[in-house]
């Protein structure tokens, strides 16, 4: 059953986390940036589920936490997309480089 060790799962989730961080910092399209954030949140979910299953199989706290994370991520994406749509109306673009009115 436990043929795959915990470290392998953690490697996947860490890789996913950093792909998300990299995407967030390099992508210029707002939707893609939002997708990168979803990657980060999903890597957290993998972490929670893996820790729960491998280390603390007697309780379910980690599983529940990941369920709540999924729900919150959906809510966040809904608001973010609404904001992006409004940004598209005023800027006619969803490129972050075009939203550059506020500067130091």
């Amino acid at each position: 059953m436990n043929a795959i060790p915990l470290t392998h799962v953690l490697m996947v989730s860490t890789a996913l986390f950093f792909i998300g961080v990299y995407g967030f910092f390099t992508r210029r399209n707002l939707i893609t940036m939002l997708m990168s954030i979803e990657l980060i949140l999903n890597s957290v979910n993998i972490n929670f589920v893996a820790f729960n299953k491998y280390l603390y199989p007697e309780q379910m706290e980690g599983l529940f936490f990941s369920l709540f994370t999924i729900a919150i991520a959906a809510a966040e994406a809904a608001v973010a997309i609404a904001i992006i749509i409004n940004l598209y109306r005023t800027h006619s673009s969803i490129d972050v480089e075009d939203a550059d009115e506020l500067k130091l």
Binding site: L30, L34, I37, E61, G62, A75, A80, L87
Partner: protein, 469 residues
């Protein structure tokens, strides 16, 4: 019945939300001023009831929710602050199209903050933090046609989503290291295990992001400048106040055993925050942006107080939040009023304000003196207590840097005051008619600025709240 008092602010806020929704469905054609009256009335009732109802200590929902005296005080304070923000924002609210929606968002954010202060479990903490930050981004977008408002909202939602991603990663590591997420268990099981430390540092980063401490402050000025003025006031006063409370609580009572780890973090971050916040504040022209950097600097001072790691540090931080709330509400009240009447937000346009609008100019001057920490105002006492709490650790370098920064800060606060009182201007802002509610809010907060400093009993009251915590 105990639950009734335990959750007093939370249930009253959700009740208020339902009332507003029913009123909206029942009569859609109500005028703006009538909505404003309804909201202010309900909020006033809520604040009075909140202060008068007895505070019960205890926990609910299997330890998920945890009420303590200092937290109850902070919740009442935040609700009162929101009432004042509703009052000062009246000029702007009359012009916005969706006034009820704005109120619903503000109430849900406030409810998130109340739950966050009382959270006793990481799940509760995360959920309430998101409840407090997602509606805020929607509020920032309330200047629908303005280009910069949309930009500010986009920056806020992306940075807050990213920071909560980091924080969640930290929470998952904490879970991996200990197998529990409840604060009470985490306190018992905290250790110097590398996984636990990494988890703690990531969690710390997530919170510090929301507090806009320096390496993570880049969103602050943009969001403050782009949002409508009452939203900026809410962001800088209520949201920051709640975050400081939660931050201090988590550091002291959940990760108290890791004292030396977070002391080092706070030491470095507070110096960076004070210095960089000050340097950037000097060169700002836009007043909202200027207050953004000023609030970053104030957070730096608060970190100095918190680093004292004693009951005094916690008390000093809370006391400073009270003072900061009054001073910032007055400053933003003046800015909101002038911005929504004339559209001017720059320091240059405030030249000669003292001749045309003496009341507004004096209010602004007193608020800025309090933020700068000039003696007769409460800001002075707030800073004294913070520094005193910081000295407790015997680290004088930190205190000297903080004191030097306060002197630098005096320069840029006085720059605004000079523009208002000494510079002459041919096309100064015309005399403005200020409404009754704005005047009430300004008078109460000005009285707060003066009296909080002299009434020593307030500090003692807050200190007593923290005893036994």
């Amino acid at each position: 019945m105990q639950l009734f008092y335990l959750l007093k602010n939370e249930w009253m806020l959700s009740f208020m939300m339902v009332v507003l929704l029913i009123l909206k469905v029942a009569d859609n054609g109500r005028s703006h001023s009538s909505w404003i009256r309804i909201f202010n009335g309900l909020m006033l009732v809520l604040c009075v009831a909140g202060w008068l109802m007895p505070t019960v200590e205890g926990e609910a929902f299997g330890g998920m929710f945890f009420s303590y005296k200092a937290g109850a005080f902070a919740k009442n304070l935040l609700c009162t602050g929101t009432l004042f923000i509703g009052l000062i924002g009246e000029d702007w609210l009359k012009k916005t199209r969706h006034v009820v929606e704005f109120y619903l968002l503000i109430i849900s954010t406030l409810m998130g903050m109340c739950f966050m202060i009382s959270a006793g479990h990481m799940l509760m903490f995360y959920l309430s933090l998101e409840l407090a930050s997602i509606p805020l981004a929607a509020m920032c977008n309330f200047g629908f046609e303005e280009r910069r408002s949309g930009e500010a909202a986009m920056k806020l939602i992306l940075s807050s989503a990213f920071s909560s991603g980091l924080m969640l990663m930290g929470i998952s590591f904490l879970y991996g290291a200990t197998g529990t997420l409840s604060f009470a268990q985490l306190t018992l099981m905290s250790s110097y295990e590398p996984l636990f430390i990494i988890g703690f540092v990531l969690l710390f980063t997530g919170i510090v992001f929301k507090l806009s401490v320096v390496p993570f402050h880049l969103w602050t000025a943009d969001v403050y400048e782009g949002s409508p003025a009452p939203v900026t006031a809410f962001l800088s006063v209520i949201s920051k106040g709640a975050m400081v409370m939660v931050f201090a609580y988590i550091l002291y009572h959940v990760f108290g055993a890791l004292n030396d780890v977070w002391y080092t973090l706070l030491y470095v971050l507070s110096i960076a925050t004070m210095v960089i916040g000050n340097l950037f504040a000097i060169r700002q022209q836009n007043l909202k942006r200027f207050l953004a950097f000023s609030s970053i600097t104030q957070i730096g001072y608060i970190l100095v107080g918190i680093s004292g790691s004693s009951a005094e540090g916690f008390t000093a931080a809370m006391y400073f939040i009270v003072v900061y709330l009054f001073s910032n509400i007055v400053a933003f009240g003046v800015i909101t009023h002038i911005a929504s009447k004339t559209g001017n937000e720059t320091i240059d346009s405030y030249k000669g304000l003292a001749k045309t609008n003496p009341f507004l100019a004096w209010s602004m001057a007193i608020a800025l003196f309090s933020l700068a920490g000039v003696p007769p105002t409460a800001g002075f006492f707030g800073k004294i207590f913070l520094l005193k709490a910081g000295v407790g650790t015997g680290n004088f370098v930190l205190i000297i840097v903080a004191a030097l920064n306060m002197i630098v800060a005096l320069y840029y606060y006085l720059r605004v005051i000079r523009a208002m009182f000494m510079d002459s201007n041919e096309n100064a802002i015309q005399p403005l008619e200020s409404g009754l509610s704005l005047r009430i809010a300004l008078f109460v907060c000005l009285a707060g600025i003066i009296l909080t400093g002299f009434a020593g009993s307030i500090y003692e009251y807050i200190l007593n709240l923290n005893v036994g915590l």
